[in-house]
């Protein structure tokens, strides 16, 4: 125990004297947190749309006005001799609405009026959103011009309730995910750098000849970087509270216990990488790939895991961030508590133990060799 503490103290002193490491530990994570939060969103507003109105009737103009009133679309002018397709090619508009000559007459006579809407589908998701809004706007326009029906409105009316996030703020979705991804990058990065530095500069040989055992040495490192990771966690929590308005929605204990396990897991991953690769530059890349890229892509951070094709979906099971995102979304948004997320801390424990075991075996083997 004494030796573990001594090792941890040595690590903390070392990092205190390394300016770049300190910046990496405390400043950069917060910058990235803000950047991710601001840049990653799918909530599109003010998409430029051009309109070609062959009808020029009062009804068609009212129809156009209902598009003008929506937040999603912003009507931009179409040059008199320009074809709407060209405006889409050009990137000047993301959608084009073409109203045929008989639009107003058809409506007045109670017939079906046609409207053509061209949507730029290079971005399929935005195209889908535009399609949804265009249909909704058309329906509400129809409802507004129809005389109030005597038989009492539509047959079925849906009362839609948006739970947990009634304002549909994308911050509440991105926030907990960014929180997890940042913690999957920086704690293991620092731990891996420190481990591989010892290998690169051969100071590890001093460790081999000292009386410290492999697990004491590793636990000392993990303790030191765990302390730093906890500080990062606390800073990130405060930052995301102010940036994304995130705060505990229910029982915080699953998240708090999960956090300890998650940080242990990530630091162990870093130590494992550092022990395996005695080259700092290569270790950085390994953490970037294994820690960051996987947490970013295969954790359900931006899009549901069920959207990942089954052939690579199994990989997500070993990505710790996946479980922490479940915990964070539950704690900050849904508030379901233990019954909803009991399995996440368990999986984090298993993964953390596995990373520690691999690092320990690596260390022991080297020690025997030396």
């Amino acid at each position: 125990m004494r030796r573990i503490l001594a090792q941890a103290r040595k690590e903390l002193t070392q990092i205190q004297r390394d300016r770049l490491a300190l910046v990496l530990a405390l400043v950069l994570p917060m910058i990235l947190l803000a950047l991710f939060g601001l840049a990653l969103s799918l909530e599109v507003k003010n998409l430029p749309v051009v309109i070609q109105d062959f009808d020029q009737s009062a009804l068609s103009r009212a129809y156009i006005d209902s598009f003008r009133a929506s937040l999603t679309f912003q009507i931009v002018a179409l040059e008199p001799d320009e074809r709407p397709e060209h405006a889409l090619d050009d990137g000047k508009a993301r959608a084009a609405i073409i109203i045929p000559r008989d639009f107003g007459r058809d409506i007045e006579r109670g017939r079906e009026a046609d409207v053509q809407i061209l949507v730029d589908a290079t971005d399929a998701n935005t195209a889908n959103v535009m399609r949804g809004y265009a249909v909704a706007i058309t329906q509400s326009y129809l409802a507004s011009i129809r005389p109030p029906a005597s038989s009492g409105g539509p047959a079925i009316r849906a009362r839609t309730r948006l739970w947990y996030n009634p304002g549909r703020s994308s911050d509440l979705y991105i926030g907990p995910g960014v929180f997890a991804v940042i913690l999957a990058l920086f704690p293991p990065l620092l731990a891996a750098l420190s481990m591989s530095r010892e290998g690169e500069q051969k100071t590890i040989l001093q460790v081999y000849v000292s009386s410290i055992t492999a697990h004491e040495y590793l636990l000392g490192k993990i303790l030191a970087y765990g302390v730093i990771a906890t500080a990062q966690w606390a800073l990130a929590l405060v930052c995301s509270h102010f940036l994304f308005g995130m705060w505990f929605a229910g029982d915080p204990t699953p998240l708090l216990i999960g956090t300890v396990l998650y940080l242990f897991c990530n630091v162990c991953f870093g130590v494992m990488v550092g022990a395996a690769i005695p080259n700092q530059a290569a270790a950085i890349q390994a953490v970037q790939f294994g820690g960051f890229l996987f947490s970013f892509l295969l954790s359900g951070f931006l899009f549901p895991i069920s959207n990942i094709p089954a052939s690579i979906r199994w990989v997500t099971a070993v990505v710790p961030a996946r479980y922490y995102i479940v915990l964070a979304r539950d704690a900050f948004v849904r508030g379901g508590g233990w019954t909803a997320v009991w399995y996440a801390p368990l999986m984090l424990t298993v993964l953390g133990a596995f990373f520690f075991f691999v690092a320990w075996r690596n260390m022991r083997r080297m020690q025997v060799d030396a």
Partner: protein
Amino acid sequence: MRSFLDAVLSGRILPLFRKELLQLKRNRRLVIMLIIPPTVQIILFGFALNPDVKNLRLGIADYSRGVESRELVSAFDESLSFRIVAYYPSGDALGDAITHGDLDAGLVIPQDFARDRLRNRTADVQVLLDATNSNTAAIAGSYAARIIAALNEQYASARPQQVSAPAPSALAGDAGASAPAPVGTGGPQLRRATIAPHITPLYNPGLETSWFISTGMIGTLLVLMGSLVAAASMVREKETGTIEQLLMTPADATEIIIAKTSPLLVLLSGDIAIALVVCRLVFGVPIRGSLLLLISAGVLCVFAGIGIGTFLATITKSQQQAQLMAFFVNPPIALLSGVATPVEAMPTWMQPLTNLNPVRHFAVISRGVLLKGVGLDVLYPNMLALAAAALLLVAFSVWRFRRQLG
């Protein structure tokens, strides 16, 4: 420009060039690094970043349990957007399932649903959506509204006192022939009027989301790989101290840089080909425009990357430092580019800033060329901006490099 011409004419640049090529040839790790990570990353990004909203897990709490409510449930079941996973005895049980994250949406049908339907009164149903994921919730909400609207239209046309009207369709190309309506003007006719929006998704009729990500990722990879490799090859000379030996030779800084970057440029251009092949074979991205235009844009991207890498090399002493410094530069380049998420979704004040990002312009160009099939007449502003960014970055880093050596 003069010094460049001098360098080429003096014949010193060729031996330097050969030295770099030999060095690269022996560095097998670098070659592997240029092939495997880009391939894996495009595939991973294309598959994993998929915002499709399909097969939403729907739970049902049906208090009415009649023919009428079953009709509504089957309307949801028949749509591809929802998949009914379970029935719940009560709304509370359904709510708990949503809280536990077992469901994406819930449908609660009240007890008097059947009665209301029979008396031709508006029957209310509750649609509960887990809005944790705001994007999914928005799309799911519009799907639900569409399903119910279609059902309403069907009921309205079935009412005996009304002339049948075709249901509106939101699907592309689904043009229903309009039923003949009695001649007349004004009021009551309007009730039967419908508008059929024929929505055509251009450029990507199958709404393949991977086409968006993978075409954008090409630029990100070129800039990131370019900066990584350039920084590594410049810093290595510094780290091992061989830079002094290079400076002892009659070659000047410009010549050294040209000789160092041109083999990298060739190698990285290979990445453009790899990326395009992956896009084409794995995701079936079409190539509708001029490949030459796309490749020149790619080369400009590589230049920008080399500029960034050289700059990183001037402010660091070791490979490890250069890589850590890259953490400050690469995330903003990758994120503020409209590659993974649309630029229109960023805060308004941030959107103009993305114009400074070479990756953003490359993304516009690659989507323009590959998906839209447009040419230089449309893309020239982005081409110019990309060229300016590349030139500026390279000039700045060369200037810093020369000053450091001088």
